[in-house]
């Protein structure tokens, strides 16, 4: 199906369009913009707020033009006050609105962790369902060009460590639109993390609104030798790795998690039970990272199927350095995934 396909580059998508001229392509960035636009059009309870959402640049293009079209009450610039504004958005959500709070960088969310972890995440449980928190928080992972330690983090491990949150990380334009729409209509706080390196990625995106169900992973590629569990930008790397490994006769089953919390254990365990080998590729740090959560569940629940040590491809245990030389040494790519697969196959 065209929407499950990951197009690694524009030429690949162009080729697909040649075959099927009805295939509608959109970038990941525009998919987010389209979801937001349609939500603003169709749902009067929905609004967007955040620092610079009305900026001419429109948060790297993802909110471009919306303030002009929908006005500053529905697309609302805010002071730089992350904790306060998160609580304010949560308060609005408690009354039944569906706010979408936008952060240019996930790094700034450390400031609002109290409202996220001690409030939004706990409200439904603490009041035994008397209240709902239909709040979605978009946050972008930056990377490269010397962004350095405070503008490049992948903090999913922080969020997945807190019961009550949902954590979503789309890897394709189709998912970016469908998961964002589903997140907004979810009655729970959702942390929606985008990777800026994906913004230019193109793929099939239907025009009409649709949802992609939260909590369900998707198998991007079937294979019998090894399972690769990835999310966000690491899915692209995993697909690349999978293609090269095929040439070497290794068939990878590639799972795109889509939602990190709640985790789709069934899909992960099903695959590992089949392949017996697991590589986890995560954009975050390895030590204390989300990759450990996947690993731990598999070694608890599919231990007898495992034929080799679980491998994790994730960042080394240091903050992001600025110099491009150090950045190059820091970030992981398909090459690291290939190496990890090879360590446990053959």
């Amino acid at each position: 199906m065209p929407w499950t396909k990951v197009y690694e580059d524009r030429s690949e998508f162009a080729a697909a369009v040649k075959k099927d001229p009805n295939l509608r392509g959109l970038t990941y960035r525009d998919a987010i913009l389209e979801a937001s636009t349609q939500l603003l059009e169709h749902d009067k309870d929905f609004f967007i707020l955040g620092e610079g959402v009305d900026d001419p640049g429109g948060v790297f293009g993802t909110t471009k033009g919306l303030a002009d079209r929908f006005g500053d009450k529905r697309v609302m610039d805010t002071p730089l006050a992350e904790n306060g504004v998160t609580g304010i958005a949560m308060g609005a959500a408690l009354t039944g609105l569906r706010p979408l709070l936008v952060h240019m960088r996930v790094d700034f969310m450390t400031l609002s962790l109290d409202q996220i972890a001690n409030h939004a995440a706990k409200w439904g449980y603490m009041f035994a369902g008397a209240v709902k928190v239909p709040l979605t928080i978009r946050a972008i992972i930056g990377r490269g060009w010397g962004s350095a330690a405070q503008h490049s983090q992948c903090l999913q491990a922080m969020f997945t460590s807190v019961p009550g949150l949902k954590v979503v990380m789309p890897a394709t334009p189709y998912d970016a639109k469908g998961l964002l729409t589903a997140s907004v209509y979810d009655d729970n706080p959702v942390i929606f993390i985008e990777h800026r390196a994906l913004y230019e990625q193109i793929g099939h995106v239907p025009e009409e609104p649709y949802k992609v169900e939260l909590g369900k992973a998707i198998v991007r590629q079937k294979g019998s030798d090894v399972t690769i569990v990835a999310s966000s930008q690491m899915v692209t790397e995993a697909m690349k790795a999978g293609r090269q490994l095929k040439n070497d006769g290794i068939e990878c089953e590639i799972i795109d998690l889509r939602t990190l919390k709640p985790m789709d254990r069934v899909t992960i365990l099903g695959s590992v039970n089949k392949t017996g080998r697991l590589v986890i590729a995560d954009n975050g740090w390895k030590e204390g990272g989300y990759s450990a959560s996947v690993s731990a569940i598999v070694s608890e629940e599919a231990f007898s199927a495992l034929k080799a040590p679980i491998q994790r491809v994730a960042l080394p245990n240091v903050p992001t350095p600025a110099s491009h030389v150090l950045e190059a040494a820091y970030y992981k790519s398909y090459i690291d995934i290939i190496e990890a697969v090879k360590r446990i196959t053959g």
Binding site: F47, K73, R74, T78, P79, A81, N83, G84, V85, T86, G87, I88, A89, M90, G91, A92, A93, L94, T95, G96, L97, D114, Q115, N118, H119, W123, G124, Y125, M126, F127, A128, G129, A130, V131, K132, V133, P163, G164, K166, D187, N188
Partner: protein, 323 residues
């Protein structure tokens, strides 16, 4: 808008109801059947009563760890409150919240936070919602002098003033955050002065005088309902009991007994009763009838709670997510 006699009696009753419920907690707590911390507001009742007298049921109210009085004054369900103290499944939070986490959406309360200052932005968010939907409601936020220390107060007040939201900030200044005196925490001498930096309006009022609170709130409500944005009301008061639990705390050296005694003389209920009796608005007979009626209500709530079932272990994993 002068207060008429029925309104005055209502204010008195509202205070007394809070006092009597809390005195009941003081009485019952040592039995160790309420297995959660309780933060009593005895001595501070005039603030909740005076402010909430202006509110409709669908106005929003945000409170904190010391929230029983706000809850009752706003029209929260007493049975559900007491049941929550007792950890029952009929509690307002079905036993999952405990005394610090109370809720009554039908009374405009969306749940209290025990993180100091944590509720403040929520109340502003409720005000934003009113504004976005073009409703007539207002949103009232109760918080302490301790919460005033927190940056989230500043961020929230700025937002409310910037967007001219229908929000009232009521800082219950009882001088202490736990046992830390205001003078050890605030550079400024007047909490209400902080409104100046926001080009907003602040006012300080005797929080033990229910009518003073009432009139200060009236102005703020008027401002809020007519689109002029928030008001910062500092209501100066004193808590009689320790920070947590039913005991006093001067024995522990947290404060002086003298200080407590001075403030007990300024008891908001005693003073107001005297005033209303003097004005022939109340008479001993009416006071007795009001007292009796509250006694029944309180006893009923306690009985209700004690007869209610506890949750079971099966309830542990429910309510994590709303479907």
């Amino acid at each position: 808008m002068e207060l008429d006699k029925p309104q005055q009696i209502k204010l008195f009753t509202s205070m007394l109801r809070i006092r009597m419920l809390e005195e009941k907690v003081v009485e019952l707590y040592p039995a160790q059947e309420m297995k959660c911390p309780v933060h009593l507001c005895i001595g501070q009742e005039a603030i909740a009563a005076g402010v909430c007298a202006h509110l409709n049921k669908d106005d929003y109210l945000t409170s904190n760890h010391r929230g029983h009085g706000h809850y009752l004054a706003k029209g929260g369900d007493m049975r559900a409150l007491v049941a929550e103290f007792y950890g029952r499944s009929t509690g307002c939070s079905k036993g999952k919240g405990g005394s610090m986490h109370i809720v009554d959406t039908s009374a405009g309360m969306f749940g209290t936070s025990a993180i100091v200052g944590g509720g403040i932005p929520m109340g502003v968010g409720a005000g934003l919602s009113i504004d976005l939907r073009g409703e007539e409601k207002i949103s009232v936020i109760f918080f302490g002098d301790g919460a005033f220390d927190e940056g989230v107060f500043y961020e929230s007040y700025n937002f409310a003033a910037l967007k001219k939201l229908p929000v009232i900030f009521i800082c219950e200044n009882n001088f202490y955050a736990t046992n830390s005196h205001q003078s050890a925490r605030h550079a400024g001498s007047r909490i209400s002065n902080m409104a100046l930096g926001f080009d907003s309006v602040g006012t300080s009022v005797d929080g033990n005088n229910v009518e003073s609170v009432y009139y200060a709130a009236a102005t703020a409500v008027e401002r809020a309902r007519s689109g002029h944005g928030p008001t910062l009301i500092e209501a100066i008061t004193y808590r009689w009991k320790g920070h947590v639990g039913p005991g006093t705390d001067f024995e522990a050296g947290c404060r002086s007994e003298d200080e407590l005694k001075r403030w007990m003389e300024k008891c908001p209920i005693k003073k107001y009763r005297a005033k209303l009796i003097e004005a022939n608005t109340l008479d001993p007979d009416l006071v007795a009838r009001i007292t009796d009626s509250i006694t029944s209500e309180v006893n009923d709530a306690v009985q209700f709670a004690l007869k209610s079932p506890l949750p079971t272990a099966d309830d542990l994993m429910t309510d994590l997510y709303s479907e």
